[in-house]
């Protein structure tokens, strides 16, 4: 079954191209160009994994992440940031994000992280179901 990935990033060119590449590899990507749009998309359909850019105008990455997690606590989120370390974001992102990758993105790293995230979510889900 194709994995549903929600890509949230305000850089149109980047996110469009990335979506195309994922599609070529058998994923089912959906795109949101802002935090607001993302939340709307999430209400419509729940994806299997989210890739979220932290540096966005309008609703910030942190805010989006918080709301997202409120909606779907078990949804794995891979965070994209210009930095390297999750701790340095300073907003407790570490607790909420599954992983943090830097831009420019190495696709292989993303693919690995996506797979790992989905596996982890599956394990969690199994743990939750009574």
């Amino acid at each position: 079954m194709a994995l549903r990935v929600l890509l949230i990033d305000d850089e149109n060119e980047f996110v469009d191209t990335l979506a195309e590449r994922l599609e070529l590899r058998g994923y089912k990507p959906s795109i949101a160009y802002s935090g607001q749009a993302a939340l709307q998309a999430l209400r419509a359909e729940k994806p299997d994994v989210v890739v979220l850019d932290m540096l966005m105008p309008g609703m910030s990455g942190e805010e989006t992440l918080r709301r997202l997690k409120n909606m779907y606590p078990n949804l794995p989120v891979i965070v994209l940031s210009g930095h390297g370390m999750v701790q340095d974001d300073g907003v407790g992102t570490a607790d909420q994000a599954f992983a943090c990758l830097t831009k420019p993105l190495a696709l292989s790293a993303l693919l690995e992280t996506l797979a790992a995230a989905v596996r982890a979510a599956a394990v969690d889900a199994e743990g939750d179901t009574p």
Partner: protein, 589 residues
């Protein structure tokens, strides 16, 4: 005037923009001068005034005894001389001319006189014509004609007369007492008696010597009548100007012919032609005071010297403190400015890095997508030779783009890392990471300049708790300095084998030791002395001279030590020792 002084001082005391030695030298001089002036001036004034006062008092003090002595002597002498005259006057009135011209009777009278009164030498009766008709005494003076003699004329006019002292026939001083008598029968005659001056001398000089006062008699022409200890024997000239004649005792301060300062009391003796002089050399009275004064002067000089010395020391210290404090303040400002500059550079760098990352990401994805598409296309078997050749080239080009993006990414991430870590914080970290990172920054520059960057990191380095950003600053500074030292002459003159080596090892008792070694131009002992001073730089056109100063401060504040060894033309080694855990209490830098 006051305003100008105030302004001048304010200018000297305000915080300067730049430190110059001259400024503090002149400040020191002015302060010392002011202090000495303010201390010494009143002292001197007081001393001078006191001295003048005391001298004046001493003078006045001197006057009284001399005055008193003169008056007492005057009284005694007038009494004695008056008595002498009265005695003769009594004789002249008790006896008539007839009585006295009888020589045996005259002789008897004379002997009686001599038995009661000491000093009478001879007696003579002078008739109206001036002839001595009767004479008793040791000389052959009977019949001498005194007509026209001044003493006779004086006697006839005044009635009684006491002569001044003269040298008698036997060569010692005499006086003559003469009394003129006009009898009822019209006879006028003069009784003349000579007396020696022994008793007179006795009376005059009895008390004086006890008080260092020379008491003597002179006549109206300044000829001594009695002996004077200061001016000679009787009948010599006194040698001093005559004082104003008055019966009232007059005291004056006089300088005599020999230049001595004298206190002179003088008065005339009634009924005589004598002037009494009581002379006291001022020097004698002043001598004790002068002795004390010279000692006091020594104390004064000593005091002044002490004031000057203490002022110089104190003011020197004070101004030095001021200078040090000013220097520290200026350096602190400079350091703050430097810090701020760095942090704004950091922010700029972060901004740039972020901006650049986004297009980089796009490039990356598009190149990646192009490669994906190319792979798909070749997979579908479109296999003409030319086509696959182009495809191969395309693929390689796209890979080139991707790897270049990777390189750019390394740069921006490094930039971001540097910028982020400008904030001071304490965290557990691996020092090898910081060293590696720092060397990464400088690698390109080193390669450009033909210097090889080496690392010698020990295996067992423990973690330390310290400030990442500050450590980075320190290592950047040290390695940068080493690079500059090696490439000092420009890349063309860099010799083969030029290196900068960063070593790091751990010693149990000491801590982590990071050493930066280079084989560059080295530093002279002179330079080494000043190396940690602010604004000290050996780079003529670049640098603020603050690098090592700031580095020193950082290392000390992190609880570490920094040592530099260097030899000219051989190279330098800078060692930084860091504790595993920083000190709780801030370290005095």
């Amino acid at each position: 005037m006051l305003g100008a002084i105030q302004k001048y001082f304010a200018h000297l005391l305000e915080l300067p923009d730049a430190i110059s030695q001259n400024r503090y030298r002149s400040l020191r001089k002015i302060m010392v001068l002011s202090m000495v002036l303010v201390s010494v001036a009143p002292l001197l004034i007081l001393s001078l005034v006191s001295n003048a006062q005391y001298m004046r008092t001493l003078e006045r003090e001197m006057e009284s005894p001399v005055y008193a002595m003169a008056r007492k002597s005057q009284a005694a002498l007038e009494l004695y001389l008056g008595e002498r005259i009265s005695t003769v006057s009594f004789l002249a009135h008790a006896y008539s001319f007839a009585d006295l011209s009888d020589e045996p009777r005259l002789n008897r009278i004379f002997l009686s006189l001599k038995s009661e009164f000491q000093g009478f030498v001879d007696m003579g009766l002078v008739d109206t014509d001036g002839r001595q008709v009767a004479y008793v005494g040791p000389y052959k003076l009977k019949g001498v004609d005194y007509a026209g003699e001044p003493w006779l004329r004086e006697t006839e006019m005044q009635g009684r007369y006491l002569s001044t002292v003269f040298l008698g026939y036997r060569g010692y001083p005499h006086m003559v007492v003469a009394v003129h008598r006009l009898e009822e029968n019209g006879m006028s005659w003069t009784l003349r008696v000579a007396t020696d001056t022994l008793r007179l001398q006795q009376i005059v000089s009895v008390v004086g010597p006890e008080h260092d006062t020379d008491v003597f008699l002179v006549d109206k022409d300044g000829v001594l009548q009695t002996d004077s200890s200061l001016y000679g024997k009787a009948l010599e000239s006194m040698g001093m100007d005559m004082p104003p004649q008055s019966h009232e005792t007059v005291v004056r301060r006089v300088t005599d012919a020999q230049g001595r300062q004298l206190m002179v009391a003088s008065c005339t003796l009634t009924g005589t032609e004598f002037v009494l002089m009581a002379v006291k050399p001022v020097a004698d009275a002043i001598r004790p005071w002068k002795l004390v004064r010279s000692e006091l002067l020594l104390v004064l000089c000593g005091g002044i010297a002490l004031i000057v010395l203490v002022s110089r020391i104190l003011m020197g210290q004070l101004v030095n403190r001021l200078q040090a404090s000013d220097e520290r303040r200026v350096a602190a400002f400079a350091q703050m400015e430097h810090s701020q500059k760095l942090s704004s550079i950091g922010r700029l760098a972060a901004g740039v890095a972020h901006e650049v990352n986004n297009p980089l990401a796009v490039i990356n994805e598009k190149a990646g997508l192009a490669m994906d598409l190319l792979a798909l296309d070749s997979g579908s078997g479109n296999g003409s030779d030319n086509g696959s050749q182009y495809r191969k080239r395309l693929h390689d080009l796209l890979e080139g783009i991707a790897s270049t993006v990777e390189r750019a990414r390394g740069i921006t991430h490094r930039l971001l890392g540097f910028a982020r870590r400008m904030e001071a914080n304490r965290q557990t970290l691996h020092i090898e990471e910081i060293i590696t990172e720092t060397l990464g920054f400088l690698e390109r520059e080193a390669v450009n300049r033909g210097v090889s960057l080496e690392m010698e990191l020990a295996e067992d380095l423990p973690e330390i708790v310290s400030d990442r950003g500050q450590l980075q600053q320190v290592f950047l500074n040290l390695v940068g300095n080493a690079l500059d030292a090696v490439a000092a002459g420009g890349s063309s003159t860099v010799s083969a084998g030029a290196f900068v080596r960063v070593g790091c090892r751990y010693e149990e008792d000491t801590g982590i030791i990071v050493s930066v070694t280079d084989n560059g131009k080295g530093m002279s002992p002179e330079v080494l002395k000043h190396i940690f001073e602010p604004f000290y730089s050996t780079k003529a056109d670049k640098g603020t001279g603050l690098g090592m100063f700031i580095t020193y401060g950082i290392v000390r504040r992190l609880g570490g030590e920094i040592h530099v060894e260097s030899e000219e033309s051989r190279g330098s080694v800078v060692r930084v020792i860091l504790p595993q855990v920083p000190p709780e209490v801030p370290v005095e830098v």
